[in-house]
Symmetry: C2
Subunit: 349 residues, 2 copies
């Protein structure tokens, strides 16, 4: 980490510059620092230090004779410092009331996953002015509680999957045969007996193995059961919840449509976001990705703050905030963390 090369003084100044720029989006000059932060150096000294910081790539000036603005590297330094600080002094106090209220609210609507995650993303967005994102639990990792099959039109069948976590998925399948409801019920019973308690992933692989092995299945119905089960498990894309952009538009960073459109484009492709957040589901605590660091092209001028929610200690999904690199990281980190904890609590009870 190249910020190790900085002496204490430089760190203080850098921290101050980033903090100031985050709170007010104006390039910050040396004189301003001397006024607002009583370091005890003259503006000339600050100036020298800032020039060094610029050489090292932490700051940049929009043009000669403007103040300095943090680079992504500068923000990274700031966030790292922030995370260390956090660890020492728990700054939560005021928002305990919020957490309580919010948990209550979630508790009330947790029966409806959609409504719950919409609530999560919208609250997140409203309170932070950034884009709230929530990735619901991955169904593949959850364990099958019960499978039901219902006859539908013609040769199509509705499969309903219930998992331990309360994820309910349904899917219309074509079974290429006119099975009676009784047959379906029997098939479902068979599959339940066989697979209840396994994770969907396990079921899938076991299924593939068995189908290969017993190539000619003696029992027609069991063969059909296998076929149905496989279809039932192949879910479509993962859906993800993203807040609307209403509150985001208040930010000065997005005061022109070009920027807002960029953001809109970044969150349009939900697969992208999913694949990004997938990487953080195993990570512990809050994760911050800043601008450049982002693997996804469209997110290179944005930052992502994420945290996982868990049931017990098994990570289930991810909560995140997406905003400009000039983000109030302290706030974003705190909020994501708090909300993730609320969601975890909801899943436990």
């Amino acid at each position: 980490m190249s910020s190790d090369m900085l002496d204490g003084r430089s760190k203080d100044i850098l921290y101050a510059v980033v903090e100031s720029y985050i709170s007010t989006p104006e390039p910050v000059g040396s004189r301003f620092i001397t006024k607002k932060y009583p370091f005890g150096f003259s503006s000339a000294t600050i100036r020298n230090i800032m020039a060094d910081l610029e050489d090292l790539g932490f700051l940049i000036q929009p043009h000669t004779s403007a103040g300095r603005v943090p680079t992504d590297k500068g923000y990274r330094f700031f966030v790292d410092a922030l995370l260390h600080k956090e660890r020492d002094s728990g700054q939560q106090e005021v928002p305990r009331e919020f957490a309580k209220q919010f948990t209550h609210k979630l508790e009330r609507i947790k029966t409806n996953m959609n409504a719950m995650f919409s609530e999560v993303t919208n609250t997140l967005s409203m309170m932070s002015n950034y884009v709230g994102v929530a990735m619901p639990p991955k169904s593949e990792k959850s364990t099958l509680k019960r499978l039901d099959l219902m006859k539908y039109k013609g040769s199509s069948v509705v499969a309903i999957l219930l998992t331990d976590e309360g994820i309910i998925k349904n899917r219309v399948l074509n079974v290429h045969a006119d099975l009676a409801q009784e047959d379906l019920t029997r098939i479902a019973e068979y599959l339940n007996a066989e697979y209840a308690g396994s994770t969907l992933d396990e079921i899938k692989s076991s299924l593939i193995k068995r189908m290969k092995h017993e190539k000619a299945l003696w029992d027609k119905l069991i063969a059909k059961a296998m076929e149905i089960c496989e279809q039932a498990l192949s879910f479509g894309e993962d859906d993800i919840f993203v807040s609307n952009l209403y509150d985001v538009m208040d930010l000065p960073d997005f005061s022109n449509i070009a920027r807002i459109k960029e953001l809109s484009r970044a969150i349009k492709d939900k697969h992208m976001i999913v694949s990004l957040l997938d990487d953080f589901i195993e990570a512990d605590g809050v994760n911050v990705v800043i601008g450049d660091e982002n693997p996804i092209e469209d997110l290179r001028r944005l930052s992502v703050v994420s945290s996982t929610y868990k049931e017990g200690d098994r990570p289930m999904g991810v909560i995140a905030l997406i905003g400009p690199t000039r983000m109030d990281y302290a706030k974003a980190i705190f909020m994501v963390d708090a909300v993730a904890k609320c969601v975890s609590r909801t899943f436990e009870s």
Copy 2:
């Protein structure tokens, strides 16, 4: 309708002005009209007529010595004229190929309602640059095909409703009793025997009647069944599908955030949109609401073009486009109509 007071000449000019302004968002002047539309009058005459049209409230000038811009009343005249014209000459030809392709696409994903309606709104938005909206079929109006109950954690039960239209709803209920899965199955069977084939609305009212009548139900299980059924039928808010704003941001009308935010605000409250579209579900053909005419405050500077999709001749839901009052109505009307028809076709097969 006050546009009856206009003579043919005035109508032609008004139509031309609106058409021109829709195609290019520049106030249109008298000279421009003489150039582009060979009416055979001089600019001075046009000028007089335009002054009259302004007095009558069809046009307005942003400032002295600018051209004229249509008022909502002006757009209304234009749209009415458009709808009459449409009736005579079917202008569909080119997009038959599109309709075919799109119907195919829907056919492939119709098993997943969510995916289907997302596809509808996003395609609509992408092709028109306006906001695509789709209201899925109202579950209350659809008939019950089958109800299933599955035991969940503790005293909660998952109810799954399958309707004729393929709407599958699930809901977690609290039954305040530790019923075994067998009991649940029996209850479900009973309810299916009793109610399959009725619309959910009918079931609801019948249920209420019965519960009042036989106050002391002798059969505990049937009492429970009633209770469960009632809970299962009380769905939450209707959800509605709204496209993202990505393509909308290309419009010059929304080139500043204030306008885009206004739009964002208007579509944020989905209940509002639902209540608006509900009014048009019975209407035949395409419906256009222009600016002022809108009952909802937030939509007063926007227009809504809507159409219903049906199964047979029973209207099921609404497809709509929301855009600026300066909208390409011809295109919007055509697209909404075409897409609604594609969706109808999908529901039929």
